[in-house]
Amino acid sequence: MANMKFYCDAERCIECNACVTACKNEHEIPWGVNRRRVVTIKDGEAGERSLSVACMHCSDAPCAAVCPVDCFYTTDDGIVLHDKDICIGCGYCFYACPFGAPQFPESGAFSSRGKMDKCTFCAGGPVETHSSDEYRKYGANRIAEGKLPLCAEMCSTHALLAGDADVVSDIYRKRVVNRGRSALDWGVNYQKGSLNLPGK
């Protein structure tokens, strides 16, 4: 069985937010909920890099460890999913998750948290595959159709990789080898007096 993982290549991500849009559209995600987001570090400075982040489908998932109702489970493909029929919207998974992946729609009279929503690796949820119930609660199930997550499949620079961890790391390793050490130096001029020099 595969061990599904995301990897975002910081040297390729151009912060176009197409993955965010694709995800929202594919799964008809409600307002205020974002299963995926792009974060830019050092925006406008030397060394600026962008990364697309969503649920990373951890092997030892902190969300599953702290869930008071134990609604998380890991599929045979290493995808971390949860059962919205059991979820109580307490928010503990959001506190424990390093990536800020769990999202909560506002619900109830005092806008408290509704059922948690997060990236499913486009693998649906614990209800009948391709049922309307599944689509409404968890979004599309592309994995069942033999497809990979849409965010990665349509990434124009192929920055966002998704799939079996071995394959993803093979692709990335080849990139690093072919790219050479200069890749991290892009945008940096080492000439004396250059305006791009760090620390000036």
């Binding site: 987001r37 925006d43 008071p68 609604c71 059962d83 059991i86 959001f94 990536f99 806008s111 940096v188």
Partner: protein
């Protein structure tokens, strides 16, 4: 000179240490050579050719720090919190990796949850043991047939609103805290999900009611709960639990301790609870994590202590519960447990209605403290 110390060591370990020492030496050399030029602030990275020539004898030292090389260090927040820019709006959306969540997870799953369970188990065990050894604490002189007004209607109302919400909040809170450990193995997580969902809703909505009742509880009961000098004697005699008699006013020192613990821990639980109750205000995860830890610890302590109060005030002591239900206590009960208060109010004693006739009517609004 550090190198020479290790030259004698043979084999792989010796070479590894030698390499380590070499790299350490490199680290030591680097800042000193960079500090040498006349303008240290700009020269460190600005005079590229100079620093390169200075490093020419060190094979792996980079002349210029790559601005992108610190990316993962920054993402992991090794050098302190860093927030990025994102188009997505939401709590902490600009933080790629939050490092506090793991600490919170360990504290909660390895400390707060198990020790909460142990605390409640120990308290229950102590109460069972106490019951087995001492039995019910009787009124030694028997019922006198005379009753004294102890709590007015409004005092009882405030007590019961606070008390009932407290017990419901305690039970629903314990369900959420210990349910996964104790209940899911019994009933499975689908059935427990229903109970937990109900518990969370009740807990969320009843919390603010408790906060308000706590304010009234304080106002209505604080007057007779200030500690006095003679309370030290009460503590010294163990409240008369182990023989002897401990003098007490309207409230004994144990009750006063319970009052202040309930109020102070109640304030802590209320403040943290209100923080947790309103996630719409966009408080960051660290605030929520801290609130949840403090909320759980304070709540389990006050809930554990409340078991002692609930036991002694109901089945543990003859004649104790009726003052909070009917408002009146038996005169002999008052004499035995609150003798100083009894001396103040014994003139207000009135004949108790016979047990056959139901007790009607409000006990009146007069202050029972005799003041």
């Amino acid at each position: 000179m550090i190198k020479t110390c290790h030259l004698g060591i043979n084999g792989g370990i010796g070479q590894a240490i030698l390499l380590l020492m070499l790299s350490l030496a490199m680290l030591l050399i680097t800042p000193s050579t960079q500090a040498e030029p006349p303008q240290p602030s700009s020269a460190a990275l600005g005079t590229t050719t100079d620093s390169r020539s200075a490093h020419s004898n060190v094979p792996f030292a980079a002349a210029v720090i790559n601005p992108g090389s610190g990316l993962w260090r920054e993402v992991r927040q090794r050098g302190g919190p860093i927030e990025g820019i994102t188009q997505v709006s939401g709590t902490d959306a600009g933080i790629l990796i939050s490092t506090r969540g793991e600490e919170w997870r360990q504290l909660r799953t390895e400390k707060v949850i198990p020790y909460s369970g142990y605390l409640l188990a120990v308290v229950l065990a102590v109460l069972v043991l106490f019951r087995l050894i001492r039995g019910q604490l009787k009124i030694h002189a028997g019922r006198s047939g005379m009753r004294i007004l102890r709590f007015t209607y409004s005092q009882r109302a405030v007590h019961w609103v606070a008390g009932i919400t407290f017990v419901i909040l305690g039970i629903t809170g314990v369900v959420l805290l210990l349910g996964r450990t104790l209940l899911i193995p019994v009933m499975g997580n689908s059935a427990f999900g229903v109970i937990a969902s109900f518990s969370k809703t009740v807990h969320d909505y009843l919390g603010p009611v408790f906060v308000i009742s706590l304010v009234f509880l304080f106002i209505y009961y604080v007057k007779d709960n200030f500690f006095k000098l003679k309370d030290i004697q009460w503590f010294a005699k163990g409240g008369g639990m182990f023989g002897g008699h401990a003098h007490a006013g309207r409230f004994n020192a144990g009750e006063k301790t319970w009052f202040w613990l309930a109020i102070l821990l109640g304030i802590v639980v209320s403040v943290t609870g209100l923080v947790l109750d309103f996630p719409i205000f966009g408080l960051d995860r660290e605030t929520m994590e801290l609130s949840l830890l403090i909320h759980g610890i304070a709540a389990i302590i006050v809930f554990g202590i409340s078991f002692g109060h609930m036991y002694l005030a109901t089945v543990g002591m003859e004649g104790a519960l009726e003052s909070m239900t009917t408002g009146y206590c038996d005169a002999n009960w008052a004499k035995e447990h609150h003798d100083d208060w009894y001396e103040e109010v014994k003139d207000t004693a009135e004949p108790a209605p016979s047990e056959d006739s139901p007790t009607h009517g409000s006990p009146g609004q007069a202050s029972p403290s005799g003041a």
